[in-house]
């Protein structure tokens, strides 16, 4: 399998006066179509790692290569387009737009990419909302949904542009165990069906163990890297 993502000697230091060294010389690569989990204690640097992979944050030193291309060479618009087309984000706090309905939130990445919504994409959005079990509430404003519903809307949203990589930060963090299982099944199903690469941060040992690979981050270093 080909490497879709590679991190070479990535360091992240916050602050200029008081320096906080969050990531130390991280070397990692991810294969296309793999399902990876990242575990670690709070403050270990996993979210920072995910944000750097997602191009939201910049490494202080080191390189991030996506499909062999160094993201340092991209300008702001290229990075934005890259985030829009290649990456799907599922954040811990869902981050839906409260002014828009579930359906509109799901369509938003497509709208950013194409400017207008076609009939086909609308059908696909309905389908993916159905897939995450939200067809009943698809026209609700996101503020009028439960936490679990919002989380599943965020998942449907991350998939609308058929991204190559889905980055998920605690996608099941606020969910009960039944929903956690069904959400995992959902992500795994997409991984298998579309060969989408998943990198999932989780506290849930059961979820982590189901992944193809478990990476443990401790104090900004890779402590464990197990492949099945």
């Amino acid at each position: 399998m080909s490497k879709i993502l590679e991190l070479i000697n990535v360091n992240k230091i916050y602050g200029t006066d008081v320096k906080n060294h969050v990531l130390h010389d991280i070397n990692l690569s991810f294969e296309e179509g793999s399902f990876n989990s990242i575990i670690g204690q709070s403050g270990s640097g996993k979210s920072t790692l995910l944000n750097i992979i997602g191009t939201l944050d910049k490494a202080t030193t080191g390189d991030v290569l996506i499909n062999g291309k160094d993201i340092k060479s991209m300008n702001a618009n290229q990075l934005a387009d890259y985030r829009n087309e290649t990456i799907g984000f599922v954040f811990q706090f869902h981050y839906l737009l409260p002014e828009f309905t579930a359906m509109e939130n799901v369509l938003m990445p497509y709208l950013i990419k194409n400017g207008k919504v076609t009939k086909e994409i609308k059908e696909r959005a309905e389908e993916s909302l159905k897939l995450v079990g939200l067809e009943e509430v698809k026209n609700n404003l996101s503020t009028k949904m439960s936490g679990g519903q919002q989380q599943r809307t965020a998942i449907a949203r991350s998939l609308i542009n058929n991204p190559k990589i889905v980055l998920a930060d605690e996608p099941t963090g606020n969910l009960d165990s039944d929903t956690t299982d069904s959400t995992y099944e959902l992500l795994r199903g997409i991984n298998e069906k579309f060969n989408t690469t998943f990198i999932v941060i989780t506290h849930d040992r059961r979820i982590a163990e189901k992944a193809d690979r478990i990476i443990e981050i401790k104090d900004g270093r890779i402590n464990l890297d197990i492949r099945k």
């Binding site: 934005a80 387009d81 829009n84 981050y95 839906l96 409260p98 950013i112």
Partner: protein, 388 residues
């Protein structure tokens, strides 16, 4: 850009109270602008109309010793044809004389008019308070003030004596009121023919008086210059009201400047209001902007959101402001009235001025949105993601 508009609309709709408040703020600014503008323009127009509306705005006279223009009919025709802003051209024969009536005598300016043409300038027919206008060589009309002073009545005979000691007897067939005491006591109006006869001038006039279209009174100097250059030789002199009324002009100019000042300050306060509210909106919506950026919206597109917000707020503010301003102006002409029911000040509804005020408000709103737009484009999504 379409996405920017869509998101802007949704942001505005989701915060209706705030949106209405900003629109109201802009609308009040625009309405004050329109009301004050119309008021001042109306005031100016009224003032100009009252001062020079019923008098010639350009006068052509002769530089020759006898102060007479002989081939005047031809000249009147070519002046009339020279400029489309010229509405009335009238030749007059003015001479000083003595007026005598039952032992009283005073000096008087005998003005020989072609009555129909002079009516176009002095609004003569409407100004005749009593009797009629002079129709033949033995008739004269005098000011209403003379009637009171000498207890004159219609069809009384008066004597007019020229400086050459020629004396004629004329019948008073009417009394006029030109609303200026010096004219009401100092003028006697006869037909042009009788003035030429009384003073033995032959076919001549002493001046040619010109009235301009109401919208062109302020370019009287340019028109006069054009006439001098095109038609009049060295022996004719041309004067315009602007040269003769410098104090009135400077008064009007002062009014203009104060009107501009008021309008500029109204606009500045509107711009500041929009800018500050939109600046707050960026902070309110920074979470949403962060999410959109994480999903790959370009920095320029987030700027469009706020520019469109500015445009929409400015547009609706301008529309409501124009309606409100017109309503206010209408109410003013209805409620601020003289005892006889006419408005104290006639407002001047100038549609191009109103359109301009609206456009300025829209442009100002977009400008006010510029700073928030730049701020939003600089917003870093990681700050929002990490803060949670």
């Amino acid at each position: 850009m379409r996405l920017g508009l869509k998101i802007a609309l949704r942001f505005l709709k989701s915060n209706k109270g705030q949106t209405l408040l900003i629109i109201l703020g802009i609308a009040i600014g625009v309405s004050v602008q329109i009301f004050i503008g119309s008021l001042i323009q109306g005031l100016q127009k009224g003032l100009v109309d009252k001062t020079i509306g019923n008098s010639p705005q350009i006068t052509v006279s002769s530089k020759s010793e006898d102060k007479r223009i002989y081939d005047y009919n031809e000249l009147i025709g070519s002046i009339q044809a020279a400029d489309s802003d010229i509405t009335v051209v009238s030749g007059t024969m003015d001479n000083a004389a003595f007026l005598e009536y039952s032992g009283n005598s005073q000096s008087i300016l005998i003005r020989g008019f072609n009555i129909d043409q002079a009516d176009g300038i002095y609004n003569l027919y409407d100004r005749i308070e009593e009797g009629t206008y002079p129709r033949n060589e033995s008739e004269i009309i005098l000011g209403i003030d003379l009637k009171d002073e000498y207890s004159l009545s219609l069809n009384d005979k008066v004597n007019v004596t020229t400086f050459n000691n020629k004396s004629v007897t004329l019948t008073v067939v009417g009394f006029f009121d030109l609303k200026v005491a010096s004219l009401n006591t100092g003028w006697g109006i006869v037909t042009l023919k009788s003035a030429q006869d009384i003073f033995d001038t032959g076919l001549a006039v002493t001046s040619i008086e010109i009235k301009l279209d109401a919208d062109s009174v302020f370019i009287a100097d340019e028109i006069a210059e054009g006439l001098q250059w095109k038609l009049l030789g060295d022996n004719l002199e041309i004067e315009n009201w602007k040269a003769q009324n410098e104090s009135l002009l400077s008064g009007l100019q002062g009014q203009d400047i104060s009107s501009y000042m008021i309008q500029v300050f109204v606009m500045v306060s509107v711009v500041l209001a929009i800018a500050s509210v939109l600046a707050i909106t960026v902070i309110q919506k920074s979470r949403q902007i962060g999410i959109l950026k994480a999903m790959g919206i370009r920095n320029s597109s987030t700027s469009y959101i706020f520019l469109f917000e500015g445009l929409l707020l400015g547009f609706f503010g301008a529309v409501f402001g124009i309606l409100l301003g017109l309503g206010l102006s209408f109410a003013f002409t209805k409620f601020a009235v003289n005892p006889d029911g006419t408005p104290v000040i006639d407002l001047y509804i100038n549609y191009s001025f109103i359109t301009l005020s609206g456009l300025i408000a829209i442009v100002a709103s977009i400008l006010a949105a510029l700073l928030p737009a730049i701020r939003s484009s600089k917003l870093n999504p990681i700050d929002i993601i990490r803060d949670n």
